[in-house]
Amino acid sequence: MAEAQAAKKQPPRPPIESGCPDGFQYMHPLMIKNYGNWKYHDRPRPGVLHHVAHSGDEIWTVRVGTQRQLGPYEINLLCDIIDKYGEGYVRFTIRSNMEIMVSSWEKVEPLIQALNDAGYPVGGTGNSVTMISHTQGWLHCDIPGTDASGVVKALMDELYEEFIHEDMPNRVHITTSCCQINCGGQGDIAINIQHTKPPKINHDLVANVCERPSVVARCPVAAIRPAMVNGKPSLEVDEKKCICCGACFPPCPPMQINDPEHSKLAIWVGGKNSNARSKPMFHKLVAAGIPNNPPRWPEVATIVKKILRVYKRDAKDWERVGDWVERIGWPRFFELTELPFTKFHIDNWRGSRNSLNASTHIRF
């Protein structure tokens, strides 16, 4: 009997370790033909890029915003449009926008029309507010303090006009992150969870679930130590030292850091990945203590829109948010945005003295 079962059972299939697939097999033929031989580009209208090759070939790219989480209906709907009005080739940007490439200008307007008719916005190019970079949140993550897709949807509804137009001084990259690990990355404006209370420990579970020494090692401020609690081996947190970062939660789920009331949102500005003009910059804290308020997080949207309004009015062309604040100074930023400046804005982590003003450069 056991033998018969074993004989029926197929041997497991060994994987083909092919790694990253070759992009050329899915690339638009004009991109293959002119690979490495492009001459210049321009943007004939928001949401459209036009690239010209040394060979004289031209290619137009239509950039379309999506909900990132796509099902068969959305994929087939978009692919039907791309097959009918485009040429069957598509790529995705780092911010989950779709880019549809076509070989003639005549195809651009009908393609845009078809996408708009299906409820998809075309934009996100140049000096627009492009799609918000997007993590997993409550939909799939094991440590999230908030949702990702919901925050992005709520904000993109508010920033829809800024996506389809190019009205900002320079491009604006907004990011979201559902915990302080900050998977969303650096952004001109970053909206990240900020915990405000130490973890709540379920001492019954720690010994079974957590590798205690590695949890102790994970704490950035050495606030965790092994302890016996109610006769069981567990961990305790020095709550005076604890910075509520949540680093202990992923390796030790019984150290619950998320709290419906005390996990707040914070807004950071001035992150920039590009080397253009200034060197790359990290984003800096401007507002915290914002309620984590699903399904539409209106308090976050109010602050983000306020910052964008001031930036749009006050920044020079080509200044990213970070460039702009460097020029006008932080006191002016807080004055213009009417955001409160608190003791929490002053860094006290390692290297923090570099962020203090060691000069008489003061604007009045």
């Binding site: 899915y26 780092i94 950035p220 970062c245």
Partner: protein, 432 residues
């Protein structure tokens, strides 16, 4: 706006099927429902369409609504893998499976996209079809590391789905302490600012470490990212342990006729205010006859003027890459940027590509040996100092690696003379 009645409601992002194929009744989702209005395409409407098809998504929506109501997440990790691999799958088990049993297992497969994220519609449809067969149907293009995220399936179906897509050329990405899926920009395929073959660099690097991707055994994650120019569209300096960025070392290309045309269309003031005076090293000046002078020795290849005057200006012809190592976000020591380790190298011949593979494998080997558990490469460099790292991977010091020399005198400098001699010899060699 999208909220007006669509012309063709059957082919619209707001479409909801009439027929319900899933057998389980829907949960009430009053909070999620509020995310169906507004002009941006709604992921909630998408989830509802899927819930019309399968019970897993009915309960998934129930759990998500529960999270919205209670403001807490309810997924826990675990161990799931496909035969032969140790990573690549993000296991998710529901903590509220009693209430939502159909989505009690809701694992994600991380799959490496083609370099540059190029697809044909046929391939997108094929991937979607495979996932509909074995999973929830929900796909994220793409996750923040760069994977295609196939979200939501049972433990058993992870293997079936992987077997199917692996047969037509797709492989899992990384999860856990391993080499992760890489990213590269559109680059040479469509961008005149590219200085390298991003497709080739991306695939050469990551496919060289495929064993370190599929069998997690490193101190922590290790990411490669490739950007074709210093605009760094892949955010590689801040988001990767090993950033490869295209650059050039000869003079940038200036088409004076196009410079004049640009000034004519935009006006001289615009060009002075937005190009000349924005150069971070004052390397640009405009002559009286509207030609542009570039002090190429002081140009830092920031890309700003090239970004503004796309037709008149372009990178030089002697192209190559810079390599920066050690970028990452907050945990645990605070943010670190990547540091210049290779200011410039050519990437044209097979030997050049062998060399970059060697730099990468020396880096990973040294870090695997010396990094602490859960310590990123950049954190190790911070702990042991850049010089110890350079000696470990066999790369000589170079003034391009620093913003300024040390300001503290607290260091032993016993063998200054030997070190100075090394520098002289290297300079002689370079000159000879």
């Amino acid at each position: 706006m999208a909220q007006d009645k669509p012309k063709n409601p059957e082919k619209h992002s707001t479409f909801i099927p009439k027929e319900k194929k899933s057998t389980k009744p829907f949960h009430d989702t009053p909070m999620l429902d509020q995310l169906e209005s507004g002009p941006w395409p709604s992921f909630v409407t998408g989830l509802k369409r899927l819930a019309h098809n399968n019970n897993m998504m009915v309960d998934l929506m129930g759990q998500l609504e529960h999270s919205y109501k209670t403001r807490l997440g309810y997924w826990k990790g675990g161990t799931v893998s496909v035969f032969g691999y140790g990573g690549g799958i993000i296991p998710r088990f529901s903590e509220v499976a009693e209430m939502f049993p159909e989505s009690k297992e809701f694992h994600t497969l991380r799959v490496q996209p083609p370099a540059g994220n190029h697809y044909t519609t046929n391939m997108l449809r094929q991937l979607s079809k495979s996932w509909e067969k074995y999973g929830s149907g929900l796909i994220a293009f793409h996750g923040q590391t760069g994977n295609i995220m196939f979200i939501g399936t049972t433990t058993e179906n992870t293997q079936h789905f992987f077997d199917e897509i692996n047969e037509y050329g797709f492989d899992l990405g990384g999860a856990g302490p391993c080499v992760r899926t890489a990213m590269s920009c559109v680059g040479s395929a469509r961008c005149e600012q590219s200085n390298c073959n991003e497709q080739k660099i991306h695939r050469t690097l990551v496919n060289n470490f495929i064993d370190d991707m599929h069998r997690p055994a490193l101190p922590y994650k290790f990411k490669f990212k490739v950007s074709g120019c210093p605009n760094d569209c892949m955010n590689s300096i801040q988001r990767s342990d090993f950033a490869v960025i295209g650059t050039w070392r000869d003079d940038m290309q200036v088409d004076q006729k196009e410079v004049k045309a640009f000034i004519k269309s935009k006006g001289r003031k615009y060009v002075i205010d937005n190009v000349i005076s924005r150069c971070p090293t004052n390397a640009l000046s405009l002559s009286d006859d509207d030609t542009l002078n570039v002090d190429n020795r002081n140009c830092v290849r920031c890309m700003h003027c090239i970004n503004v005057m796309t037709k008149a200006l372009a990178p030089g012809k002697d192209k190559g890459v810079s390599i920066l190592i050690g970028g990452k976000r907050t945990l645990k020591i605070g943010d670190t940027f990547g540091t210049v380790i290779v200011p410039f190298m050519k990437l044209e011949t097979d030997e050049d590509y062998e060399k970059i593979k060697e730099i990468a494998s020396n880096t990973i080997d040294f870090w695997a040996e010396n990094g602490l558990e859960h310590e990123r490469c950049g954190e190790m460099i911070e702990r042991i100092g850049l010089v110890n790292f350079l000696e470990g991977i066999g790369i000589e010091v170079d003034p391009h690696m620093i913003s300024s020399p040390r300001t503290s005198s607290y260091a032993r400098m016993d063998d200054w003379d030997q070190e100075a001699e090394k520098w002289r010899q290297r300079k002689q060699q370079a000159a000879g």
